[in-house]
Symmetry: D2
Subunit: 342 residues, 4 copies
């Protein structure tokens, strides 16, 4: 069946399967101490233009968020996130499970605002009872956000400056980073992110890998004994090569960017198809997730032939739904979608 349910409905980009085959019999050490991870690290550092970065590979997104946040916060600190941030609502309390509070700030189109962060921290700092409160220690943003939206370079710079003015680490969740970087409407590059954030990750699972996220500590700031804490979080794979081979492949000859660009192209065509079909957008997304409003009858009718995700109830008769593209979306898929919407 035709589906746009998510960007993780198919397997991985074929180059990865080829790399698995090619390297399968090479014998390497476990736990990330292998040449594939080492090579992937070098390529990622180069792509980030961040010679002092350190790269770590972790299997999935929630695990990455949990492991990074718990390793970088002091015990008395919490993390600031948008009310709609992934860690705020869709990770089953994985951050709180490690003992840390998530401060939920308002969002605009899924994005935190530098002024809201500043305001929050300034109010905190003025409290007489400050020592009875959780200290803000980190800011978590995602790029693209839950709504597929993007920070502009100016917004990201302001957030970065605000964080560093107040001694907060800035952590960017890039589960879908490729789509953000290849959007037609962004002025933010990978080196910008490496320069402005303290830590971020380059998502693999949702951008063409079978699994895996590449965490970048941008300025030689990986916490001491990180491997032990990673293990303690259950995030250390025995066959570290599984992640090394994938990221080494994705960062060879620009594959990561190429497949992300393809998904963006497909998403742009979806926009056109929707617009032509007179379907209103729930919000303007410049990335691979497109949110439109359908009436519930149309949803029932379409559901038989095409997969998509219900996102939010708009009113009694209408629902916002999401169509996502990926490396494996084809023009033939879109032709079919176009026909169905007529």
């Amino acid at each position: 069946m035709l589906t746009f349910e998510s960007d993780y409905t198919t397997g991985c980009t074929p180059e990865i399967l080829k790399a698995f085959e090619k390297t399968n019999l090479e014998q390497v050490s476990g736990y990330g101490a292998d040449k594939f991870c080492a090579s992937a690290e070098e390529k990622i550092k180069a792509a980030c233009n961040a010679p002092y970065a350190q790269v770590e590979f972790i299997c999935g997104g929630t695990q990455t968020n949990q492991t990074i946040i718990a390793a970088m916060l002091q015990r008395y600190q919490g993390v600031i996130a948008a009310k709609t941030g992934h860690i705020s609502c869709h990770e089953a309390g994985a951050i709180e499970y490690t003992g840390h509070k998530v401060f939920e700030l308002p969002q605009v189109m899924g994005k935190l605002q530098a002024k809201d962060i500043r305001n929050f921290v300034e109010i905190f700092e003025k409290q007489d009872a400050k020592d009875h409160m959780v200290f803000p220690g980190m800011v978590y943003i995602s790029h693209p956000t839950e709504y597929g939206t993007l920070y502009s370079l100016s917004e990201l710079s302001q957030i970065s400056e605000t964080c560093h003015e107040f001694g907060l680490n800035l952590f960017l969740d890039g589960a879908r980073l490729g789509y953000g970087l290849m959007s037609y409407q962004t002025d933010v590059t990978l080196p910008d992110i490496a320069r402005l954030c303290d830590v971020f990750y380059i998502g693999g699972t949702k951008v063409g890998a079978l699994c895996g996220e590449a965490v970048v500590f941008t300025h030689n700031n990986r916490p001491k004994h990180f491997l032990t804490m990673k293990k303690q979080n259950g995030a250390l794979l025995a066959k570290g090569r599984l992640l090394g081979v994938q990221f080494d492949t994705l960062f060879t000859d620009g594959l990561y960017f190429r497949i992300a660009k393809h998904a963006i192209d497909m998403a742009e065509r979806i926009k056109t198809i929707m617009r032509n079909a007179g379907i209103p957008f729930f919000l303007e997304s410049p990335t691979n997730q497109q949110f439109v409003i359908l009436d519930n009858d149309t949803i029932e009718r379409l559901k038989k032939d095409v997969g998509f995700e219900r996102w939010e109830i708009v009113d009694e008769d209408h629902t916002a739904v999401r169509f996502a593209t990926s490396w494996s979306t084809t023009n033939e898929d879109l032709d079919k979608l176009e026909k169905l919407l007529k």
Copy 2:
């Protein structure tokens, strides 16, 4: 110096000191298995009109909140509280430290609204991704609230009904419960609370004891192995008598209510004094905490002679401040305050 800084600036009601002296040489077992705790439990059950209640004593408020919430929630559950609730902002993340999320809902005068709880849970229930989210398992309210305000019987009943409709435990933090019960403007009684809540506590520390809170599980619903979990939270005292003797005294001949009533009378006189001095109220509080707005010059002047707490910045020139009364506030104190405000 004259101070209205809080309701815990002095020691305890003299009857408690007398009881300590009287019982000092009696030899009893430790860890709460003593006759004072047993007697206090019976008296509290009677005062609550709750024959199937179980009573536990814990030393302080944050510890009580942490111990109760962590013992009653399942691992995948969180607790709903007002954004201004004590557990939300003034307990240094003690709830998250035990692994549980605090869902922060909007408040009106420090109070949660039944309709907001309903709305929150209904939205949760409708989520496709519900299993990726923390499950609401409990509602936490305080009575009086952080702002000294009170739930009406009708409001409390609605919250109770909403909780039970959705299978949520209702937990009432009564750190200042006495003042709530003796307010001139309440229709809520202790038996009402015992009937409507699943668990609540009767505050001692802020109502005339040296320390201690009496937790009431209202309907034979104390969690299995509660003593062990209490110990695990560091909340089990070897000399359990310390709490037993105090609560036995407070619940003998209505002492708890009498000293709370005295503090309310004093607070009502503060209201009159403030009104007469033309000082505006920050909000209408029917309990022992009175919040007024002072200009910053007045604050500087007064500060030399009288203690009070800065509560919230109102504007550049004005600050909301709190005056609290207790069992030990005297009319002489208020005469002095009246003079200072002239």
Copy 3:
């Protein structure tokens, strides 16, 4: 280079790569709700002869142990393990990180004894201060153990009976289960394990998969809201198919058992080679890990040509070392080893 360093030095059995390719473009839902996981579950239930079992897939071993133990224990309970158990010493405190104590019992050749478990629980039950102690709630064993040794059916039955007599869950860590089942010297079958344990896992990472462990709740006893707790532990993969495809392949036409058998055959030949070379065994292992004692000069010499793991210091001049085989070990590898040892 020739290496016997571990059973995870190479990639995966080629059938898995083929299955990845074959299924790569099939579109399925995420988070384990895909047909590959469903099919793998059915095949595993059949292989276990456990129609009421429930199967869950998790990426790695430590994560599996942490997720299972934290989900099955009550908050006031701990888990019993051998002093040499993986959770006791080689998981960086991942169990304690979730708040639970590991009770370390003595071991014989890496194995727990039913009588030691009984003794431990009986002493616990007799304590006056029992409620001030962690309650034993689960027994954790591994099969094969850290030392490659195996429980006999009689030993396993006794442990199972003891556990169930005292209301403890029995959890078997089968990170290397295939090698245990295909050992020349075992009388324990997969259905035996499913019958005697409450939960266990069939290791993939160390038995021919790229990653993944298949957890079997043997009698419809998967904890309520397990998916949410799995997510909370960071153990829920978006592309659940990664694990489903692998286990579906491993449990098709007995592949799992076939590759495990191959590793055992290779290990048996290593035994012969060692014996012929006059090298003493550190202990008798019936599985794919062989432990021998080498003098340190020999270690230095061999190290240049062959990889193996230093295991334990025996005396100043001798060290116990481990040689492990896997699906990818070949007779040519062993010919080389034989030559090197001469």
Copy 4:
């Protein structure tokens, strides 16, 4: 009834009650920022001969252990204790509840040996897989131990040297410290402890107070943001004066030492009584807890008239029992005991 069940069966030394009365109406700030705490801190620093020490007051023993250990350990570290240590077995897993492992080492008469600590750490340091293990970060000892025994100055010095050689913090649990210091058979002084340990506490609950333990960070090494972490552990009292007044009293005119000395004198007389009655000792205790072996018939007979604690089963017919003295034990009590034993 006559009882020697524990050293916390009665209330507190009368001087404390007097101090409560005297200070009851003095108005002070909350959370430990009061003059009583300040004065107690100075007196304790003087008694310790430790001008750079910092003193914190916490309500009970388990809470103190939990708060100190969790505040001083890094996330990847655990604490070393005797297998019979209080944190190892009688705190319901309070340490593990904060995420940290307790390494249980063998004990001799309740005491850790410097050589066992050294051995444990040296083995840890030599592990290839060290990063997959919990790092030892602290050593916990109690003085007196669970068995009433004491470290000699030489033993304590050796442990201290070993700890500091390996960068471990040394934490001494002094729940019964007074009895250790006033033993007839000790060469360890309070300044010795302050000089040799990094942190320790002076027990109040079991040495004449109603509650409270005074934690001494010996060399200006209180962890940053300790107040916030204390609050997070539920260990911060609103009426901090409760602890300040008690410790200020106990450390005025040597009261703490005087009442401890009295209990020791009483314990020495118990020794004589037991010896004269031909009752064998379970072990030689130089402090206020005396352990003797009684046959079970005698236990049944005595139980009607005198309280004591069953400690350990010796054989089918005999049990080790504990008799404890305290500030409130009288010669009349001992006369009665003597008569009963005849």
